[in-house]
Amino acid sequence: MHLAAVLQEQGIVVRPLQPSPLAPAELLEIDAFDWGRAAELAQPVGWRWVAAWAEDEGERLSVSACLEKHGGYTVLRTRVDSGHPALPSQAAYYVAADRPERHMQDLFGIRFSGHPDGRRWTRHQAWGEGSFPLRKAYPLAGTPPEQTPPDSGYPFLKAQGHGVYEIPVGPVHAGIIEPGHFRFQAVGEMVLNLEERLGYVHKGIEKLAEGRTPEALARLAGRVSGDTAVGHAFAACQAMERAAGIEAPARAAFIRGILAERERVANHLWDLGAICNDVGFAFANYQFGRLRELWLRDNLALFGHRLLMDRVVPGGAAVDVDGEGIKRMRASIAFLRRELDELLPILDANSSLEDRLLGAGVLSAEDAAALGALGFVGRASGQRFDVRHDAPYAPYDRFPVKVPLEEQGDVASRFWVRYKEIRVALRLLERLLEELPAGALTVPWQAPPAGAEGLGMVEGWRGEILCFVRFGADGAIGRYYPRDPSTVNWPALEKLIHGNIVPDFPVCNKSVNGSYSGQDL
């Protein structure tokens, strides 16, 4: 049943925009006072909350929320007065809406009434309460103080009781890792509660995008999260192309698919090793690290960049692959498959590895569904959603994509889902190479009229990436909002760590591997 019908049945006035400017997603305008109720009605009938973003239209702010069911995306949109922007919260019905609404509160000044947690989120001390960087009138340079003071006065949750103590960790962690803050309450070794405090790597990506050319936006998108250079550039280009009404040529779509699957394999290889390393199994770390390094060297030889940055461009792809390259890639795929075949039984038979991974950091299927957990985090807890499978886009509309699933929701499940995803990606790579169409790599860019908007949805290696783009004047970017899957998955870490021991936190964290940069923006 269409979301419009669900809402109308309950007396909500719905104004569908036809044809939808966000096709293939539907766009429904509703009144601001119905905002919370729309979520209340959509949640019980199986709509998943995907993302929300706001736009400064001058006198008014528009707020959009994207929901998904069975691969169909619907965007709800409403408008509020810029002077006193207030909206009923959707976070009361959808956990996933919690932080995105607080992000809008901090950057646009929208008050969400009935929000279960009204604390600031992205705002630390770089800009003051009462000034909002994503309003158009706020200059990109801002009005920063001589030195930005450290954050203070954030009202962390407190746990009290005999023997309860608190462990603050970060923002500078012990390893080679992005900055963030974790606040644990523990009794003995057991974690009672974990609270994440992120936003340390907020570098103004959304504001920085405004006024950029499409090419420059693709470059920025490739740096939303460095390990997802292909995924975010792919989503941004898809959104821009939909807004401009152009389509990348078939060969470019296949090249994008090849790059995306290579990125998936590289990241999964790295994490499989790192998960093992976090429980002291160095053998696997070195083996997977070796395979990843060879894979990255192939990236460099084949496509000119180890992490594949700036290879996806508006209108197509910046790189091609010739007969020699196809041969080389086929050989390295076969090599990797042989290596994995050899490593699998070693890992599987290692009881000390099993001891540490099985049953650690369990995210139940119910919790995963309630959070809207994405990618391998969701799929390790029985949530099958995969954009490539459920809402296929080029090139995946040509192949059925197999989606590996585990049910147990523990670190081991997340480990094995990734292992299987590598195998699926290798098969996909072979098929993409087999059926690589001939033809052009790009179509000429055509600047869309001012106000044109587009929505991109791709399956990055961490899961669904959503990207909203609106064009302003002169074919420049007016608004860019990328939603990394980490935004949705970070709360899953808070949930799955409950009742685990503090020393298991690193491996639990690694098994989720949220992006800090992609969430902080």
């Binding site: 990109l140 801002g142 907020h202 990506i205 920085l208 992490l307 940069s517």
Partner: protein, 168 residues
């Protein structure tokens, strides 16, 4: 267990035979020079504390690669430590986000003298794709003193090795 040992045995010691990546032919040579410099200045050991001050995480991935079996930076006497108190060098990435400004200053202050700072990657070198804004201080040198710069987006592991040598 036997299969594990067999795999280790058949994999062999990869660091003895560093495959030359096409664009980075000098890993071994640079490493040897680096080792000599470290031996001279630091009695054989250089401790690096890595600080992500706002990067996209691309630089971190390549810094991690320094520890894989091909580069194995530890054989040159360079190791990564968990605290600035243990460090000779801070290897800083990212444009410095304003939210990390104080943390970076404090990390710098926490490292004992003498200490060196290497800005790794284009963002750390000059602000890169992000520059200076309401949310970003730009280059690391805008916040703390910098002694060496390693350009690249991100710098490849061999470039990082060369850049660390550039400190001396």
């Amino acid at each position: 267990m036997l299969s594990l040992y067999r795999k280790i045995f058949t994999t062999g010691v990869l660091t003895e035979d560093v495959p030359r990546p096409p664009l980075e032919p000098e890993v071994e040579a640079v490493g040897v020079q680096l080792k000599a410099a470290i031996d001279r200045r630091f009695a054989g050991s250089l401790a690096i504390r890595q600080v992500d001050a706002g990067s996209c995480n691309g630089c971190e991935l390549e810094i991690h690669a320094l520890n894989n079996v091909y580069y194995d930076i530890e054989r040159f006497g360079v190791h990564f430590v968990a605290s600035p108190r243990h460090a000779d060098v801070l290897l800083v990435t990212g444009p410095v986000s304003r939210h990390m400004e104080a943390a970076l200053r404090r990390t710098y202050e926490a490292a004992a003298d003498p200490k060196w700072v290497i800005a790794a990657g284009d963002c750390a070198a000059c602000g890169g794709e992000f520059g200076v804004s309401y949310a970003s201080c730009g280059a690391v040198s805008n916040v703390i003193p910098v002694h060496a710069v390693i350009p690249g987006c991100p710098p490849a592991p061999a470039e990082l090795l060369r850049g660390i040598l550039g400190l001396f």
